[in-house]
């Protein structure tokens, strides 16, 4: 039996058996190298005029240009924030603030990340969740219908779902909203770096640790010409859209990781998609197990399934004991004791849920090992309840 989380398997990488890249991708080697070099050069305040400050400023501007280039946007549309969540809050609420004369309501898909849901609930005004289909996809016309009700300030639709991997029709949503004046916010945290950024948004957000950069770096994108107002207290930093002292080394490392990931994405994505097809088929073959999310139009690195009669916590713990780290949207594994709002909105089983997500260097042997353990762990838990 392999060792549990926290220690390296004999002869393996420290991340052997780690199948939770959608929660956080291990640091990319390119990011590690850049981070270590930048720690010694990017310490100074990039707002000052002296040489050390100019050096820090140069690194920050360089990071911004690289990220802009990788995402296909202008450098002045890129802001580094303190996290992906912070970027989501600023992007969504900033567009809402920019539309204060028209209304205060927020429309979003029912399967948005909790960062969007919490931000919408935090401000006064209605927040309307637009229903999704069984695959988790939101119909563009339903978003447009909800968004064109008087009093709506902003609409939010994610690029791809973080729990089930379904890619959302962002371009179609944007086309449906064109001419309505309602701006579109896109949470691209789950997909940035792995898939090209969708088009048609007014503001968007991404998170570096999801693509192999360091944690604590978010990316806020605000389209040139979009009406965006800071929803929070201001600051006198390099970038007026954010606050706090810039983490220059981390921003540069995030940019280096993104550049590497975008360069390798076709090759890595193809390999991951093939492994995921294997996981989908094997999971679907486990009795009374349903694989959820769109089978084709999806993120390349993750798959989600639910096993009937199985306690999610027992499943995660059982797999962990066999050396595999996975996430779960089941209520018993959440701090809130509420099932995943994503799974509930899709109308799929919320218990016995597992999300498997691959890192860039997850091997076929690891995946096969997981697939060998899965039916045994599921059968063991079911046997305990006599099913």
């Amino acid at each position: 039996m392999t060792s549990a989380s926290g220690t390296a398997a004999p002869g393996g990488r420290a991340t052997h058996g780690y199948l939770d890249a959608a929660s956080s991708e291990p640091l990319h080697p390119a990011a590690r190298q850049t981070l270590l070099a930048a720690l010694d050069q990017g310490y100074a305040d990039p707002r000052r005029r002296h040489r050390s400050a100019r050096s820090a400023r140069l690194l920050l501007d360089n990071a911004r240009e690289v990220v802009a280039d990788c995402l296909g946007v202008r450098p002045d549309e890129v802001t580094f924030t303190s996290s992906g969540t912070d970027a989501v809050h600023r992007g969504l609420l900033g567009l809402r603030a920019g539309r204060a004369r028209h209304g205060d309501a927020v429309v979003h898909s029912a399967v948005e990340h909790s960062a969007v849901v919490h931000a919408a609930a935090w401000v006064p005004g209605d927040h309307v969740a637009v229903e999704v289909d069984r695959s988790g996809r939101v119909p563009p016309e339903a978003v447009a219908r909800a968004a064109t009700v008087p009093g709506v300030a902003v609409a939010a639709v994610q690029a791809a779902n973080h729990e089930v991997g379904t890619v959302q029709p962002v371009g179609e949503v944007a086309a449906a909203l064109a001419g309505t004046g309602v701006p579109l916010f896109v949470d691209a945290c789950a997909s940035a770096g792995r898939l090209p950024l969708p088009t048609g948004w007014d503001a968007a957000a991404a998170s570096a640790h999801k693509w192999g950069g360091p944690a604590g770096v978010g990316v806020l994108l605000v389209r040139k010409g979009a009406r965006w107002r800071n929803p929070f207290p201001g600051d006198d930093r390099v970038d007026e859209r954010t606050t706090g002292f810039e983490n220059v080394p981390a921003a540069l490392a995030a940019a280096a990781a993104l550049q590497a990931v975008v360069t390798e994405r076709e090759q890595v994505g193809r390999r991951q998609a093939a492994l995921m097809d294997r996981v989908r088929a094997a999971a679907a073959a486990v009795p009374d197990t349903e694989v959820v999310g769109d089978p084709v139009d999806r993120l390349p690195h993750l798959v989600t399934f639910s096993c009937l009669y199985v306690d999610g916590e027992a499943l995660v713990d059982g797999l962990d004991r066999r050396g595999f780290g996975v996430a779960s949207g089941s209520a018993c594994t959440a701090s809130t004791l509420e099932p995943s709002h994503v799974l509930a909105a899709m109308g799929v089983l919320t218990h016995g849920n597992v999300r498997v997500s691959l890192t860039r260097d997850t091997t076929e042997a690891e995946v096969e090992g997981f697939l060998a353990a899965l039916p045994e762990v599921v059968a063991g838990i079911r046997a305990e309840v006599g099913l």
């Binding site: 009374d288 009937l308 009669y309 018993c332 099932p339």
Partner: protein, 80 residues
């Protein structure tokens, strides 16, 4: 749906997921094909999981009403 139309009611109040669905799976065989089994459950996951169970097991989800004490009650018709 009136109480007379329910052939068997399972009291799953206070049980956390997946226990209500486990009870449903164990006891559906106790009602005849065409009869309705009711699951009274306070766990919010049952609202999603009972209909999902029906879909996965080829049974008919009739809908939700409330038990006499106001707890949510989920109705399942055995169809096979």
């Amino acid at each position: 749906m009136s109480a007379a139309d329910v052939a068997l009611e399972l009291d799953c109040r206070g049980m956390l997921c997946p226990l209500p669905v486990i009870h449903l799976g164990r006891r559906i065989g106790e009602v005849a094909v065409g009869e309705v089994l009711a699951v009274v459950a306070t766990d919010v996951a049952a609202r999603t999981d009972v209909p999902a169970w029906c879909r996965m097991r080829g049974q008919e989800y009739v809908g939700e009403d409330t038990a006499l004490d106001g707890s949510p009650r989920y109705l399942v018709r055995r169809s096979s």
